[in-house]
């Protein structure tokens, strides 16, 4: 018999079945009589940039909410890195590597820009409390390092100059960027962006597109994007899923989606 193989390699170069980082299987979400999402399937890997589109009320944010633990799945599975995360609490899901932004920006308005990002650097549990109270040199060093990291992150997003300003005093576009920075500070492997371009002017959207690509490359995250701006979605996403009334009506590359008659019908309505 052959000697034990190193993980992932097999004789003859045949690859193991690839397991995506995030895998959603036959997900259903039902609120009473309303079926918000049915038979939803999805897969995402680090380095992916995938879009989720559909008319309003199609179930896009619901999908995000289930993955991040805000809603429980009524049926189906959500697997992250081999672990089932369906039904877990939001903070647990985040600790496992999924971060998100919100459709209506949810910044910590009464806190400064810097503090908004710093929140995400909370890692330790009770042990941290003792160190915080006594301020041991070890604790101080850790805090200083984290503060440096936070500042560096702000610099990537061009927000370092406004670090001590109230986050609600930022212009809209910068607020959206801060939200993304805050989510990235939690060191996720997957980033869910819920309509990040909403309310932005064309120039801001171009900058955002650049930024999203940069994030993907620099931080090696898988990015899943909900957007209404077709131009943006089509130009940066590798793959797009289209939802309508909770059902998946198309999955494919931007070109395939654009030519898909069902998609066109969902957005523009059928023949009169």
């Amino acid at each position: 018999m052959d000697a034990p193989q190193a993980c992932g390699a097999q004789p003859g170069g045949k690859p193991l079945i690839h397991v995506p980082l995030l895998e959603i299987t036959n997900l259903c979400v039902q609120f009473g009589g309303l079926r918000a999402l049915s038979q939803f399937n999805f897969a995402l890997d680090p380095g992916d940039l995938v879009g989720l589109i559909g008319p309003n009320g199609a179930g896009k944010t619901t999908a995000f909410n289930v993955v991040t633990g805000v809603y429980r799945p009524s049926a189906g599975r959500v697997i992250l890195d081999g672990r089932s995360i369906g039904g877990r609490k939001p903070f647990q899901v985040n600790r496992l590597g999924v971060a998100r932004t919100f459709q209506n920006i949810r910044l910590f308005e009464g806190m400064s820009v810097f503090d908004n990002v710093l929140v995400s650097f909370n890692r330790s549990g009770m042990g941290g409390v003792a160190g915080t109270l006594v301020r041991t040199p070890g604790h101080e060093r850790i805090e200083h390092n984290r503060e440096c990291e936070a500042l560096d992150l702000l610099a990537v997003f061009g927000l370092a100059g406004r670090a001590d300003d109230l986050s609600s005093s930022l212009p809209y576009g910068q607020q959206r960027r801060l939200e993304i920075a805050r989510a990235l500070a939690t060191r996720p492997r997957i980033l869910l962006l819920d309509e990040p371009a909403a309310g932005m002017n064309p120039q801001e959207k171009v900058d955002l597109m650049e930024m999203i690509r940069l994030l993907r490359d620099r931080f090696r995250v898988g990015i899943w994007l909900i957007e209404h701006d077709m131009k943006l979605v089509m130009s940066i996403c590798q793959r797009i899923t289209v939802l309508d009334h909770g059902e998946t009506i198309a999955v494919g590359t931007p070109q395939e989606i654009q030519d898909n008659p069902k998609v066109i019908e969902a957005y523009l309505g059928g023949p009169a």
């Binding site: 600790r95 915080t132 109230l166 212009p171």
Partner: protein
């Protein structure tokens, strides 16, 4: 680009220096306290004592209400627990002639014990109620505070320990400025350090937006309960200081009115500002005492009328309190609010 060193730091001193200063202050506290007590009029000493106790009460409540945004209206209930635990135990020792000469031991053991039991109560109260929000949390905590008060009022003895409920409990006065201000220092340092740290940002985030906080990995339940437990601990200590600082304790002094007074201190100081709340506690303890000394008929009632009017006016005019979310020495630049015209 702003370097970390350019930013105004929440560290007034490097940690090792701060720790050194704290130890130094505590070291000199005993002689300073004795000197003050001997030089000043006993009534003034009592007021200073009360100020210290109220600083502890208000600061501990600030952690719960101001920093973490959980509107608790039952803080006096935790004080009651601490007061009666400490008071009853001290009394027991005194009744068996074991107290004399061992007062310092009683203070070292019974005072924190009162705090710990109050903290346990905070756990009992906190875990079920903290899933409630806003108004509901307020009345739930009010309810708990009242339950505690009613139970104490109706309790005469617990085994060999005399409680005396509604009659009030006489406790030998074994506390003084030193013990009181020792705990003031401990409480303020703890709350300050908690707030001005990365962990503190988690508390604040829970206040600002729980859903977003959870999405950023903050275990909101843990932080809420933690704030409650720590707040309750110091409230219990505050209660114990009351019991041993004044010769009589009575459940009536630990009711909703008292809880509300502490809430006013937190709001007046600016929820979330540690220094602001300390200032408010001082002002709100000292001012009524000043008014009390006015030689006028029924000034007691007018005092309360004025107080309530002041409260309403303050809410109408400056609801964010004296300092809002700033600490005393932060400049205007820090946490600059948006300009009225909108975004720059």
């Amino acid at each position: 680009m702003t370097e970390l060193s350019d930013r105004p730091s929440s560290r007034v001193l490097p940690a090792w220096a701060a720790n050194f200063v704290i130890v130094l202050v505590i070291g000199t506290l005993w002689p300073v306290a004795r000197l003050t007590a001997s030089q000043l009029n006993p009534y003034v000493v009592q007021v200073i004592l009360l100020i210290g106790i109220n600083i502890v009460m208000a600061t501990s409540l600030n952690l719960i209400n101001g920093i973490t945004g959980q509107f608790s209206l039952g803080h006096a209930g935790f004080a009651a627990v601490g007061a009666y635990v400490t008071g009853v135990l001290v009394n027991y020792l005194a009744a068996h002639d074991q107290l004399a000469g061992h007062e310092w031991l009683a203070m070292i053991v019974f005072l924190p014990l009162g705090g710990i039991i109050a903290a346990a109560m905070g756990l009992v109260v906190g875990i079920p109620t903290l899933r409630l929000t806003g108004d509901y949390l307020a009345i739930a905590t009010l309810g708990f505070g009242e339950i505690i008060r009613i139970v104490i009022t109706n309790t005469n003895r617990i085994g060999p320990l005399e409680v005396r409920g509604s009659q009030g409990l006489r406790v030998p006065v074994i506390s003084n400025l030193f013990w009181t201000y020792l705990w003031v220092i401990i409480c303020v340092v703890c709350v300050w350090r908690l707030v001005h740290s990365i962990k503190g940002k988690a508390f604040l985030a829970v206040r600002e937006d729980e859903i977003a906080a959870a999405a950023m990995g903050v275990n909101t339940t843990f932080y809420k309960v933690l704030a409650f437990v720590i707040g309750a601990f110091f409230a219990g200590v505050g209660g114990g200081l009351q019991a041993t600082g004044f010769f009589l304790i009575d459940p009536k002094g630990f009711g909703f009115m008292q809880s509300f007074l502490y809430v006013v201190m937190v709001v007046l100081g600016g929820s979330g500002s540690v220094t602001g709340v300390i200032l408010a506690a001082i002002v709100l303890t000292w001012l009524p005492e000043q008014l009390r000394s006015l030689k006028s008929l029924h000034v007691e009632d007018l005092r309360m009328v004025t107080f309530s009017l002041l409260l309403i006016v303050m809410m109408l005019v400056r609801p964010e309190g004296l300092l809002g979310r700033r600490e005393l020495w932060w400049t205007r630049r820090r946490l600059a609010a948006p300009s009225p015209a909108g975004n720059p």
